[in-house]
Amino acid sequence: MITLPIAHAGHWLVSLLYLAPVVILVGALLVARARDNRLGDEDEDLDDGVFAEGAFDDDLGPPPRA
């Protein structure tokens, strides 16, 4: 007997509902990023100064404390 994929539609529909918050959040982030790109990032020239001094000096340890 052939089982149609629709037989499991209930599972997939409920699964999609669990995915919805992630999709909404990722969508919002993508929209925000697109808007930022359209407006131009005013801080682009500060690219090299994003991180605090010495933040990655010791790569394998926790960051240095103040």
């Binding site: 209930g10 529909l13 509902l17 918050p21 992630v22 690219d47």
Partner: protein
């Protein structure tokens, strides 16, 4: 129709379809035991809202790092006599020997033998709970470490030159051996057909202890235990979240989560944490309908390649487990790549190691959520197994006729604990990530922006966890 309107229409359609399909009908005729006031998926939405609100609150109300700046030593609470540590080690050795003996000499019926319950419930699930509450107690109980220390002590007192100096632990190995140990252990538990056989477990335990003794003799007791003893590393990670920690025999108190900020992420640390989360996720996934639909097809595929039915099923489960581990790794990588979009030019691996500790509370949340019921129900079986460890009808402590009380926590109670653990664990992950970002980034605004994608990852992990739990729920 505009794309946004179309998306809204599809979402509303899905919502309507789901609301008219009865929950019990979806569970393949299983009789529903939970009686929840709202559908389970709505808990995932609620959890996502809690995480977003927490994120906003952190951005507004937590502008400076606190946990990262706090001393990990804390304040002393009490000091035990020096003899407590070797005594705890002795207890660990006795427990280990009892479990191994029961596995080898007792009945091979897994539910009647002490070994499977002791290893999979008390050790694998119980010790993480205890580590969260009381700090790294396994360090003192660790039987192979206790044996190695006893040997070193005897050799040191025996005169002569004692034991030769150990070699330096290879830095490149980092936590990779620990990640491999956890992956193999969970493979035995979840995939291997004979993974619950008492004698198989006993032999594996003996083999593991022998391997640890060889490793400690080559690279030193502490370096090996801290890096390559998979279980010691696994439990110590959970203990780093605890408000209590041990410095020798002194018990000290500190703010919860402070220990995690001091995690030194070595090569393999991220892999270890991803394996911890991924294998627990697969445990839940493999009990759900999606895997039940998928596994026979995969099994048939491997049978067609020439494998026997049993081997094909094991290979299918192995692929499934590795796929879920890779999915978790991909989710984490997504968060890290999102962080990189802020700028700064740091490579993803470096940034990933800096935020590795944020996965620790998530791993614990998954353990609590997935295994709480196992611990609460099956953990009670230690009552009769302690009296009859071999399953031969003994009654050593007069409790051999004890039974499991399934009313100790109801199905609704289990569900609320699971949801609470997942939400709390992910909020803790957000706090740790926010703190680390405040330390790493020059400006608070960049720190917050860098965490947008991490928030998406946390919501993703929470939704995944709740989806897996709902698939298992009665």
């Amino acid at each position: 129709m505009r794309p946004v309107l179309l998306a809204c229409a599809v979402a509303l359609g899905l919502l309507a379809c789901t609301l008219v399909v009865p929950q019990d009908g979806l569970a393949h005729g299983l009789v529903g035991k939970q009686d929840l006031p709202i559908p389970r998926w709505l808990f995932a939405w609620g959890a996502a809202v809690v995480l977003v609100v927490s994120f906003v609150a952190l951005a507004i109300l937590w502008p400076k790092p606190r946990l990262e700046r706090e001393s990990p030593d804390g304040v002393p609470l009490l000091r035990l006599p020096a003899v407590a540590e070797p005594l705890a080690g002795l207890v660990g050795v006795v427990l280990f020997a009892t479990v191994v003996y029961a596995g080898l000499a007792g009945t091979q019926t897994e539910t009647a033998n002490l070994a499977p319950t002791a290893i999979y419930v008390l050790f694998w699930v119980g010790v993480p709970f205890l580590s969260l509450l009381f700090g790294d107690i396994f360090r003192a109980l660790n039987p192979w470490r206790a044996v190695a220390r006893a040997v070193a002590w005897v050799a040191g007192r025996g005169g002569g030159e004692g034991l030769p100096d150990p070699m330096p632990y290879p830095a490149r190995a980092g936590h990779w051996p620990a990640a491999a140990v956890i992956l193999v252990f969970t493979w035995v538990e979840l995939v291997h057909g004979g993974g619950s056989d008492p004698s198989t477990l006993a032999l594996l335990a003996l083999g593991y202890a022998a391997l640890q003794l060889v490793g400690m003799s080559l690279y030193g007791i502490e370096p090996w235990t801290r890096h390559a003893d998979g279980f010691a590393v696994y439990f110590s990670l959970f203990a780093s979240l605890s408000p209590l920690h041990w410095k020798g025999t002194q018990l000290r108190r500190r703010r919860p989560l402070v220990g995690a900020t001091r995690l030194v992420a070595l090569p393999g640390t991220v892999a270890l944490l991803v394996v911890m989360i991924g294998t627990t996720s697969f445990d839940g996934f493999s009990e759900g309908d999606t895997w039940s639909d998928l596994a026979p097809d995969l099994q048939r595929f491997f049978v067609d390649l020439g494998l026997g039915q049993g081997a094909a099923l094991e290979v299918a489960f192995t692929f499934g487990m590795l796929a879920v581990v890779l999915l978790v790794a991909g989710l984490y990588r997504l968060g890290i790549q999102g962080m990189r979009s802020i700028g700064g030019g740091v490579d993803a691996a470096q940034l990933g190691r800096r935020f590795a500790h944020t996965l620790v509370p998530i791993a614990l949340a998954y353990v609590v959520a997935h295994y709480f019921s196992l611990l609460v129900y099956n953990g009670q079986s230690v009552g009769y197994l302690a009296s009859d460890p071999l399953g031969d009808g003994s009654n050593l402590f007069g409790t051999a006729t004890a039974t499991i009380d399934y009313d100790v926590v109801g199905p609704n109670g289990i569900w609320y604990v699971q949801v609470g653990a997942l939400v709390l664990g992910h909020v803790a992950g957000l706090v740790l990530a926010h703190e680390r970002a405040l330390v790493l980034y020059r400006r608070a605004r960049d720190a917050t922006r860098s965490q947008y994608w991490m928030l998406a990852v946390m919501v993703g992990f929470t939704s995944l966890g709740l989806w897996l739990l709902s698939a298992q729920a009665p």
